[in-house]
Symmetry: C2
């Protein structure tokens, strides 16, 4: 019996295809028939691994959350030991993300948007990611000597989400750079 947590080749392929199509066109815009056709997989294969389309989406968001945060952590580690450089590495990571050919906004903001109800499982899963990112930022802010790391992390979180929306609207990376500059100013103020 395939437990949801166990990975299988078919399941992984299905999730990769679903991710690509959902991220490109949106959750409600993409039907499972299209995903199955593109993945070359049968319908019952999907429903043996996931109870519903909604559970598939939740699983995809959780996977993307893990991978995105791991990617940011790797970029921070690669930035060296300076706490300031480590925090600002997040914004360099952002700029690289915005400039990628496949960038199409933040899947979590888009999930919040498509499932706007607060109690919806997809909505809650998407917001959980934002909370986790803010906690990660708070640790970096604390290491950088901010007097109020939680407060600074909150502000940086807002800036980042705004920058993502702007990058999605303009298809340019400029918002990452201006956000980086603002973050540097705020950090200097907060550490003083």
């Amino acid at each position: 019996m395939p437990e949801p947590e166990i990975s299988s080749p078919k399941r992984d392929h299905l999730m990769a295809t679903a991710w690509r199509l959902f991220y490109r066109d949106g959750f409600r815009a993409v039907g499972i028939d299209l995903i199955l056709a593109e993945a070359g997989v049968a319908k019952m294969t999907l429903y043996n691994h996931f109870a519903s389309k909604e559970e598939l989406i939740v699983a995809l968001l959780e996977k993307r959350d893990r991978e995105l945060r791991a990617s940011v952590v790797a970029a921070v580690e690669a930035a060296g030991k300076s706490p300031t450089k480590r925090l600002l590495a997040v914004f360099d990571w952002l700029e690289a993300w915005f400039g990628g050919v496949d960038f199409n906004g933040c899947v979590f903001i888009r999930a919040l948007s498509e499932y706007p109800e607060a109690t919806h499982a997809i909505h809650r899963t998407a917001w959980n990611h934002k909370v986790a990112v803010k906690q990660m930022l708070a640790q970096l802010c604390e290491a950088a000597g901010a007097t109020n790391p939680e407060g600074l992390a909150e502000t940086l979180s807002l800036l980042i989400d705004g920058a993502i929306v702007a990058a999605h609207g303009t298809r340019e990376t400029g918002s990452a750079r201006s956000t980086r500059a603002t973050a540097a100013v705020l950090l200097k103020l907060a550490a003083a």
Copy 2:
């Protein structure tokens, strides 16, 4: 012959009902049949006024853009003559908006999310609103003596969009207050 720009009672009622349902549940989640049933209007009435569901959505976004900006302008005017107070009035307006019982995120961010393709008419219409708001902010920043009003307006725009996303995720108004405080700090720095 009813030209699209001319308002008629039926058309207005249709748009009000469509707005309520789209904003509550999302554009793709709401079918026109539901809108027509709730509005008590026939299908051809809709298609005589709008060529398609897409055009209806565009018209709704343009209407919301006009009304939202007019509302912000009114709040700014009511704030008096002090340029700083006028700029910060925008953030008080935000806090009141977030606290409203019907608040369900920013319809323009949600439209960008549901129609993620850059060339889509709905996507472009939604982004046009964000550009217009930024221009409004730039005027307020200039009046407040900012040395780089465009740059400050860009940063405040990002903060505002981030605050809206956070308010949608948490259903709390706190992001408006923290954004207001950050804006005050940045304005003081920029005017020095």
